[in-house]
Every structure is written in structure tokens, then in C-alpha cells.
């Protein structure tokens, strides 16, 4: 159990997907204008990451032993199509949830964070539950990064930012600063 909690926390903060591995930067830059939308994006990410983890675990255990060279392609195909199917199901079954997540789901199905998760999980040979906590941690970490970024950006909107730095330039600089702040956690847990 302690092992699982540790996987969750370390993926969330120490090895944050966005701020330490620089994965999933597209939603991080693109959908972090408002705290509200950033939070929903994070939730959608958690959802897809957990699905991915389950999928890649199933593929690895039952299918890919026979054809390991198909790993990348099958990950992409299976994850993307599964998310599409789930999206259709949600649309039918729960329109409110669909409205909350809807537009973000197709955006992130082929995201590098998603594929990264599948590959990391395979390389580290996580079992089902480890993979699940890994995905949850990665998703929570992404949500944390997104919400922090969005709240700083909302404040910066009211600031007299010089013309040269307005827009994406400032976002990149905030991202760099955030990433430096997260560097302090590097090596956490390895010393003691």
C-alpha cells in the first residue's frame, strides 16, 4: 500500500508530467486561461489517463507478448478509439458530464502525456494497481500544474505586461518559473 501511495505522490509532485518531464504541454499552454476550464481539462486528463493505464496494462498482459513490435501503434489505436467510444457513451448516458468534459476529451486522446504514461508504465513493468495509481498521480499532477498556471495567468491578465511579452511568451516564462519551483522536489525520497 505504501508503495502505491508513493507512486501516486511522486508522479504528482516530484516527477510531475508537465513540469518535470515536459509532457502534455499543449493543454498546459492552450487551456490554462481560466481556472474553471483548466480544472475541467485536468479532470478530463485524469479520466483519459486512467483509461490509458487500464488499456495498456491489458494490451501488455494479453496481446503484446505475441507481437511486441506493434506496441506503439496498438497503444495509439486502442487508446484513441476507446476514448472516442467512451465519449459517445457519455454523450448518450450523461449529457451533463459530457458538457463538463466533452470538448476536451478528443483534444487529449493523442496527447504526449497519454502515450508517455503508457510507455513509462510498460518500461517500469507496473502491475495493474501500480499502473492505476501511476495514472491517477499523473492526472492529479497535470491538474495541479494546470490550475496553478491558470490562476497565475488570470492575475497576470490585470498586470501591465509589456507588449513584447504578452500572450504565449509570458505563458512560457511562467511555465519555466513553475518548473524551476518544482525542481526542489528532485530526488525526493531517494536520500532517506
Amino acid at each position: 500500500m505504501g508503495d502505491l501511495i508513493w507512486i501516486l505522490l511522486s508522479t504528482m509532485v516530484v516527477n510531475n508530467f508537465t513540469l518535470a518531464y515536459f509532457l502534455g504541454l499543449c493543454p498546459f499552454m492552450g487551456v490554462s486561461g481560466r481556472v474553471e476550464t483548466a480544472f475541467r481539462m485536468g479532470m478530463a486528463n485524469i479520466f483519459v489517463l486512467v483509461l490509458t493505464s487500464i488499456c495498456s496494462w491489458a494490451l501488455n498482459t494479453y496481446v503484446l507478448d505475441y507481437a511486441p513490435y506493434l506496441r506503439l501503434i496498438s497503444f495509439i489505436v486502442v487508446i484513441a478509439s476507446l476514448v472516442q467510444i467512451v465519449e459517445m457513451a457519455i454523450k448518450k448516458l450523461s449529457p451533463t458530464l459530457f458538457q463538463q468534459l466533452g470538448i476536451y476529451l478528443p483534444l487529449i486522446t493523442t496527447n504526449c502525456a497519454i502515450l508517455g504514461l503508457a510507455i513509462f508504465q510498460t518500461n517500469r513493468e507496473y502491475n495493474f494497481f501500480q499502473g492505476l495509481f501511476f495514472a491517477l498521480g499523473a492526472g492529479l499532477g497535470l491538474t495541479l500544474a494546470l490550475v496553478l498556471m491558470a490562476s497565475i495567468r488570470e492575475d497576470a491578465e490585470r498586470a501591465a505586461v509589456p507588449a513584447a511579452a504578452r500572450g504565449m511568451a509570458l505563458v512560457l516564462i511562467i511555465a519555466g518559473s513553475l518548473s524551476m519551483a518544482f525542481m526542489g522536489f528532485a530526488g525526493l525520497g531517494s536520500a532517506a
Partner: protein, 346 residues
């Protein structure tokens, strides 16, 4: 010109004597004893480092800052504070670069004073830590002649500094972490240990902090909450296993704890605006410092904890926003919304 008989203006109508330059100058004056202690401890090296980082901070403010923004003294304070957090033996050009980065990318790019998200001095230091991890963790030995340089201060850019064998020491935190040698609290308190330029002499920083808190130029809740959290957290660990974990007094008086809690975390721009927010902010810093120092890969975590909590400040401000007088509370608003929704559905 006659004095106008009727002045029409928006509130507030009662104005205090405080202004930005006045506050900055007071903070700067309160830093003088700290600077003096730094120079007393580390000799000419400390002075050179402080000059280099201050020049680095003033240059971009002069070049691109708004008209007159150099005179409000905030860039000066950033430069001095950055200098106080650097090891005395560091090459000067690195200190200069740190000051430059802190002001240019930590402050001016956000639109100048009052609009930055991260503490510029600490951002400069984090940049240096990422760019020159060896130079920023090379500490001088204590003792030796006062006039001697504490390292290769004059190394040229892109040249590796000449470190003479036997001239490097270790900070109390480094000693504890890597060799498990504790340092006595009194030598930490009176500053006879190795460390960054201005962080070794705890009692002077505390006194200056008290003065600023009395003048209300810093929110006393932040340092108190940092100290209390650190003390309690380490205290519990220490009671569990005194051989393995450092004593709470050691944690409180070592490394950048004092300087960070008194001068960095309380930066008016990058700390929360509400008192409740300040308590949470301080508690977060205290917790993170202990976590990074004890379980992390680095011996010191003050800088990173403050930067990390800086990122939470906009969020804390929002979450702890006080109720407007006479306005409905959040629970009431939620209830009203629910009622509205039910009405819509029926």
C-alpha cells in the same frame, strides 16, 4: 497658486505617510545590519557578491523599467537579498547574471513592481541553482584571514573557477544530511558557521524582522506560521527518533530559514493578501521545507518551498477572499442557485 477650496476625489481620503520608496528604504535600512554581519563573517567576498548581484538587478530595471521605477528601490532590495542568499566564493559574473535574470524575467516581464508572481530574488537564485549547480553549492571554510577571498570570485565567464584544495567547507545542513554531524544551536544563532553570505547570523535577521513587523512592513503571521509549522513538524519527528532526525532548534536556525521567512516569504507582492491566506502560506512553506530537507535530494529547501508557495498565492487569495459586508455567504449563494435550478427544471 491658491490652495483649492474644494477637492473632489475618490476614496480613500485619509492618507498615511507611507509610500513605496519609503517602505523600500526602511526595508533596505533594516538589511544594513544583516549586510554588515555578512561582511564581518565572510570578508571582502561578501561585499563583492552583494555588489555584483545588486548591479545585475539594477541594470535591467534601468534599461527597460518604467520611468522612475529605479528610484523606488525595489530592484535594489532584490539585488541585495539575492546576494545574501549566494555562497560567498561564487564567481561574480554568476551573481550578476542571477540579479539580471531575477529582475528581467521575474519582475519586468510581468509589468514591473507589484505584478510579479514569483519572488524575483529567489527566482534569480533558482535560475543560478539550475544553471550552475556546482558553483552554488561550493561553501567556504570558516576561519582564516578576514581579508582573504572565500573562493575564486574573479573567475571569468565560461571558465571553471579555480578551487584550491582545502578551502571548501560544508554548511550545517549539508553536514547533517550527508555526514550526519549536527551543529550546535548557539553557533547557528550567532553565525560562526559556513553558509550563504547573509544567512548565517540568525539573531540579527530576527531583530531586523521584529523591527519591520513592528512597523507593519511585513505580515508577522507569515514568519510565525513558518516557524511554528517547522518546529512542530520536526519536533514530532525528533520525538519519534532523535538519532535519525535533526532537533527542531537546529531546523529553525540553520540554512536560509531565518532570511527566507523574514525577508523572502514576506515580500508584499508575492504573499497572500488575506490574513488567513498568510497563515496557510506560511504553514505550506514550513511543511515543504521540512519535507525537502529531510527526505529530499537537496540539503536546503527554503528557496524552493517559497517559490512553490508563491505559485499558490493567486489561488489562496481567491480561496480566502473575505465576505463582502452584507453580501450573501457562499453557502447561501449555492442554496439560491440550487433553488433556481429546481425552479428551471419544473
Amino acid at each position: 497658486m491658491n490652495k483649492p477650496r474644494l477637492v473632489l476625489s475618490a476614496s480613500p481620503h485619509l492618507l498615511g505617510a507611507d509610500s513605496t520608496p519609503r517602505i523600500m528604504m526602511t526595508v533596505l535600512l533594516s538589511l544594513l545590519p544583516v549586510v554588515a554581519a555578512a561582511i564581518y563573517t565572510f570578508g571582502p567576498s561578501a561585499f563583492l557578491i552583494l555588489c555584483a548581484s545588486t548591479l545585475g538587478a539594477l541594470l535591467p530595471e534601468k534599461l527597460v523599467g518604467k520611468q522612475g521605477s529605479l528610484k523606488d528601490g525595489s530592484a535594489l532590495i532584490t539585488g541585495v537579498l539575492l546576494g545574501l542568499t549566494l555562497p560567498p566564493g561564487m564567481p561574480l559574473w554568476m551573481a550578476f547574471l542571477g540579479g539580471f535574470f531575477g529582475i528581467a524575467f521575474g519582475k519586468l516581464i510581468f509589468g514591473g513592481l507589484g505584478q510579479n508572481a514569483f519572488n524575483p530574488a529567489l527566482l534569480g537564485r533558482a535560475f543560478l541553482q539550475a544553471a550552475f549547480p556546482v558553483a552554488i553549492t561550493t561553501w567556504p571554510k570558516t576561519g582564516g584571514p578576514w581579508m582573504a577571498l572565500r573562493g575564486d570570485n574573479f573567475a571569468l565567464p565560461l571558465m571553471s573557477p579555480q578551487v584550491v584544495d582545502g578551502t571548501t567547507g560544508a554548511t550545517p545542513l549539508g553536514l547533517f544530511k550527508f555526514e550526519h554531524v549536527p551543529t550546535s544551536t548557539s553557533s547557528l544563532f550567532f553565525g560562526s558557521t559556513s553558509g550563504s553570505v547573509g544567512e548565517t547570523c540568525a539573531w540579527i535577521i530576527l531583530l531586523c524582522g521584529l523591527l519591520l513587523a513592528w512597523k507593519n512592513y511585513l505580515n508577522w503571521r507569515i514568519p510565525i506560521s513558518i516557524f511554528a509549522t517547522t518546529f512542530l513538524f520536526t519536533g514530532v519527528l525528533w520525538l519519534i527518533d532523535a538519532n535519525h532526525y535533526p532537533s527542531p532548534w537546529f531546523m529553525l536556525f540553520s540554512g536560509g530559514m531565518m532570511l527566507g521567512a523574514v525577508y523572502m516569504a514576506t515580500d508584499m507582492v508575492t504573499s497572500p493578501t488575506t490574513n488567513l491566506g498568510c497563515w496557510i502560506f506560511g504553514a505550506g512553506i514550513g511543511l515543504l521545507v521540512v519535507i525537502i530537507r529531510i527526505w529530499g535530494g537537496l540539503p536546503e529547501g527554503m528557496m524552493y518551498s517559497i517559490l512553490f508557495m508563491n505559485a499558490f498565492v493567486p489561488f489562496l487569495n481567491r480561496a480566502t477572499r473575505p465576505k463582502v459586508f452584507g453580501a450573501p455567504s457562499r453557502a447561501e449563494l449555492r442554496a439560491a442557485k440550487r433553488a433556481q435550478k429546481q425552479e428551471d427544471q419544473t
